[in-house]
Symmetry: none
Subunit: 204 residues, 4 copies
DNA sequence: CATGAATGAGATTTCATTCAT
DNA sequence: AATGAATGAAATCTCATTCAT
């Protein structure tokens, strides 16, 4: 029978592989990241990877699924005590930037490798991203209920603006070799986004 | 001596290859796009591609450089008659969406394949994108001069918000198989963006 | 000290593995039959197989050796009460077809997998087949002594004809997915074979 | 445009690969024959093989199809001038043995590798073998028409006996390292087979 | 200029076998 | 004696690039 320690060990090995994969894929891109390189980096044999993942694509998808899972979880936790749509939006921006600033490899992954033109991969990735995007939508809805955001805001468009802006800021940061202070931008971004959703005032 | 017709012919062949490359890469992604497939689609021999481009990477980079060139040119032309930063911003959004809506393959390319984690490619692509991004920055500067946008707006951030938002809207459209009316969104986006840059009012 | 029960158990496990191997190899062929699959089918761990057999090849060879052993034994028993070469030949054909008809997996093994071009395997398999072939030769010799078969029959050739014919009939049956009634052919085959060995009469 | 010489060259390369494949597969068996080894033996690069064949299985099947084609052709030619079923049967046996005696590698292939338990391969091989088997059947039918063979002979069984016997004789020869004179057996085999099909006389 | 057959390094994946538990 | 996770060598197949024609 499998003991508790054995189970822990197994879990650890799976995590080792995922960690190594983040690093290697971030450095080389998905296609250029060799499975054998990931194995070496993880300190396991090539074949061991296939005990935990069906194939290379499955490794990438699992990677996203698990990292996004804890990412969304963390945002939810930090958003919870904030009251009001604007404060919640601020928390989301802050955590998003902070989380990736602490994990540069993950940032490369989400900003660059998440974009896959291969149809099968793309649809799987979309599904993983969904919980995060719906989080944004909930904030917008709350803002509308609170009469802080304009009622006729297109929710889907708002979601795209929030995600697109943060995304682009992070991408710039990644491409600029991560030399600036990313979380420091959070406040300004939040204010600009909130401004966008209140834009109608300016037409009065 | 090389006649005019011969020169035209040569140019035509180069363009044929680029056009074929856009299609094939859009359908399969850069790594999965085979040079031989591009050659076939262009109606030339595999080896011919290497008479016009150094290698596959050079083909991709040239593709971006030339398509972005005419893209930026078109935006400049359409922006010129517009007066005021907001109008110019509106023109930029409109042309950006319109241009890609007419060229779905190009959209896939810029939205998905542009994102390369391979360092050498990434820096080359960044350089190509620069003229477009500086166009946005000029609009923001103009807006500030005109006292339409807040003076303390972070120009780089503003640029990232504009690009990021449009980019995300287009990506969603591409990933949703281009079924919605992309240019129809232009107005709403422009208003949201303008709102963001006037955000300070709301703090009064 | 090892008890009787323990010994039985051990024997049982070895037999379990052999039985599983017959099934798995018959379904996939020797090379495509995975050791881990055989282990699973036998209800033992992969490593356990190596406690009973040196390696995969040894497993295959042991399989043949043991199944052929009981096969030859059964033929001898059924042939014993028959008097005369023709009757004995009839018994051999009947038992051969009957035995395999009852054991389709074994039939696949002997008809298809027995044929190995790998030299080391081939010679081992030849040796295992020998007792069966010599059984045929004894019948032919008896027939000649009894003046039922022609004295100048080439014994080796006769042996090849008997074995080759039965073999081909079984192979056809296996390849045709075992849909016909195999033992029903026994009589006709026996008569044709007997006819072949009496062929000289027809030249009179 | 492809010239005659170029075409010839191409054909030659394909044949080189097939010839090398016969040798390598005969020595190692299909599964143990590495594509890279076949390539080296043929004096081409590994990838070149895939310009002429879809995959390893296709190479094996093509091999059988083309060699069996010329084999059947040769038998037909040599059988044609012979009159009477017995003479034709003699020609078939003679050519079959002669052809393989001259091509030991091919003999290994047809006798050993032809037997594949992999279902997809097996059915393809069956189809290739069909013309040869129907040749035998035609002879048996002719013999019955000529009243040389018994009318109630089972044609399918007769076919299996002819093929099985020759097959087993060749297999023995191959396994005995081809040290005996194979074609020398032709006459005796033919007489035994003819005897088998006339077996009814002996019951009068 | 143009061709496209040929190249061969390199990638993913499989699986017989081992060995610490 | 038994386990089964881990190993890593080896195999097939792909495809960017070259070069003789």
């Amino acid at each position: 029978m499998k003991g508790v320690r054995a189970l822990k060990k197994q879990k650890a090995k799976r995590q080792q592989i995922l960690d190594a994969a983040v690093r290697v894929i971030a450095e080389n891109g998905y296609y250029r990241a060799q499975v054998s390189r990931i194995a070496k980096e993880a300190g396991v044999a090539d074949g061991t990877i296939y005990l935990y993942f069906n194939n290379k694509e499955d490794l990438l998808v699992s990677l996203f699924a698990e990292t996004m899972g804890s990412f969304v979880e963390r945002i939810k936790v930090e958003m919870h005590p904030c009251t009001g749509a604007e404060a919640k939006l601020g928390a989301l921006v802050r955590v998003h930037l902070g989380h990736l600033a602490e994990r540069p490899h993950l940032a490369v992954l989400t900003q660059l490798e998440l974009r896959q033109s291969q149809a099968t991969l793309r649809s799987k990735i979309s599904k993983i991203l969904e919980p995060y995007l719906s989080l944004i939508e909930q904030i917008v809805e709350l803002g509308i209920e609170e009469h802080v955001f304009h009622a006729e805001i297109d929710k889907k468009l708002a979601r795209q603006m929030v995600f697109g802006t943060i995304d682009q800021v992070v991408t710039s940061w990644v491409m600029g070799n991560m030399e600036t202070d990313l979380p420091a931008q959070a406040n300004r971004i939040q204010r600009m986004l909130a401004g966008a959703f209140r834009y109608q005032n300016t037409f009065v």
